[in-house]
């Protein structure tokens, strides 16, 4: 039962990261503008826009396809990405910045409480996979 749950979690989170990364590849400059709008470290925006999509895709693909010995590492990397997304969206929400989240490329919609809950849930799933893989 637990093994099936972990498999579903791994495929779901991995697939979601691959899709999210792929959608961000379409227009890197527009994605950089969206990151700038968060007003956290605007000077890093172009570097994040260039590297985040590929990092998400590789981490997501790693979660799905890498051998068992690498699963905890992929879960840790995915957890790091999810924690970063959760931190950025929470900061924007608390500061009252009405910004498009850019979570799935252009037109992802504004940051709401649901966005924060979704990112928190994804972080929880990454932790679950990491802990589950550890017990194997």
């Amino acid at each position: 039962m637990m093994a099936a749950l972990l498999l579903v979690a791994r495929l779901a989170l991995g697939g979601l990261l691959v899709v999210a990364g792929a959608l961000k590849l379409g227009d890197p400059s527009a994605f950089a503008s969206e990151i700038t709008n968060y007003q956290i470290i605007p000077s890093l925006a172009p570097y994040l826009a260039a590297t985040l999509p590929a990092t998400e895709i590789l981490t997501g693909a790693g979660l799905v396809a890498l051998p068992r010995s690498w699963r905890r590492a992929a879960a840790l990397a995915a957890g790091g990405l999810c924690a970063m997304f959760l931190g950025a969206t929470t900061l924007a929400y608390l500061r009252g910045i009405n910004v498009d989240c850019g979570c799935f490329g252009a037109g992802s919609g504004p940051i709401t409480v649901l966005t924060l809950l979704r990112n928190l849930a994804l972080l929880g799933v990454a932790l679950l996979i990491g802990l589950g893989a550890h017990r194997k």
């Binding site: 890197p28 400059s29 605007p42 172009p46 260039a50 990092t55 690498w70 910045i97």
Partner: protein
């Protein structure tokens, strides 16, 4: 020899590092890649051409624009800085600098409901026009007349038309919630 946790951390670092390397390589290879060292995010005021759907903006000299004052169907927006707004602005104008967005711009747009004309002014004609066009585009109402005051607030003041001054209650919020560079 690495501990199990160290090994996991190292492998996670390898994964992330590979992603970063691939990202930089891909960005360098694609013609529409983001300019890493010279990138500047556009703001609503720096958009040169909002596109084919951008509304038409009429330019009124102050003497003509003053006839719109007192009409409840007209919203006047001041696109200058909060300091300039506090020194003096057209009576009943709302402060809406080009850096304003999010809740502040949304509130201004909400106030356009039921009005037929939006008047925007800045330091000059040219710095008010993109704000007016962007607001008009966001509202998306073909029936809304959009007017920019020719010569901006300086021309309005020179003409001796009605204005007021004082602390701007919305300015702090508009600057705190801004989303683009000034």
């Amino acid at each position: 020899m690495l501990s199990a946790a160290g090994s996991v951390g190292l492998r996670a670092g390898v994964l992330l590092g590979a992603g970063v390397t691939l990202g930089f390589a891909g960005n360098a290879l694609r013609p529409d890649g983001v300019a890493l060292s010279t990138f500047a995010a556009p703001s609503s005021c720096s958009v040169a051409d909002p596109g084919a759907g951008a509304p038409a903006v009429a330019v009124f000299p102050p003497g003509e624009a003053v006839r719109l004052c007192g009409d409840h169907g007209v919203l006047i927006a001041d696109a200058r800085s909060s300091v300039e707004f506090a020194h003096g602005h057209i009576t009943d104008a709302v402060h809406l600098p080009c850096i304003a967005s999010g809740a502040v711009a949304g509130a201004a747009l909400a106030r356009l409901a039921g009005r037929h004309t939006l008047v925007v002014y800045g330091d000059s004609t040219d710095d008010a026009r993109p704000v007016a066009r962007e607001l008009g585009r966001r509202v998306g109402r073909p029936d809304l007349r959009i007017v920019v005051i020719d010569g901006g607030f300086a021309a309005w003041s020179r003409a001796g038309l009605a204005c007021s001054s004082g602390r701007c209650p919305d300015c702090q919020a508009s600057e705190r919630r801004s989303v683009g560079p000034p």
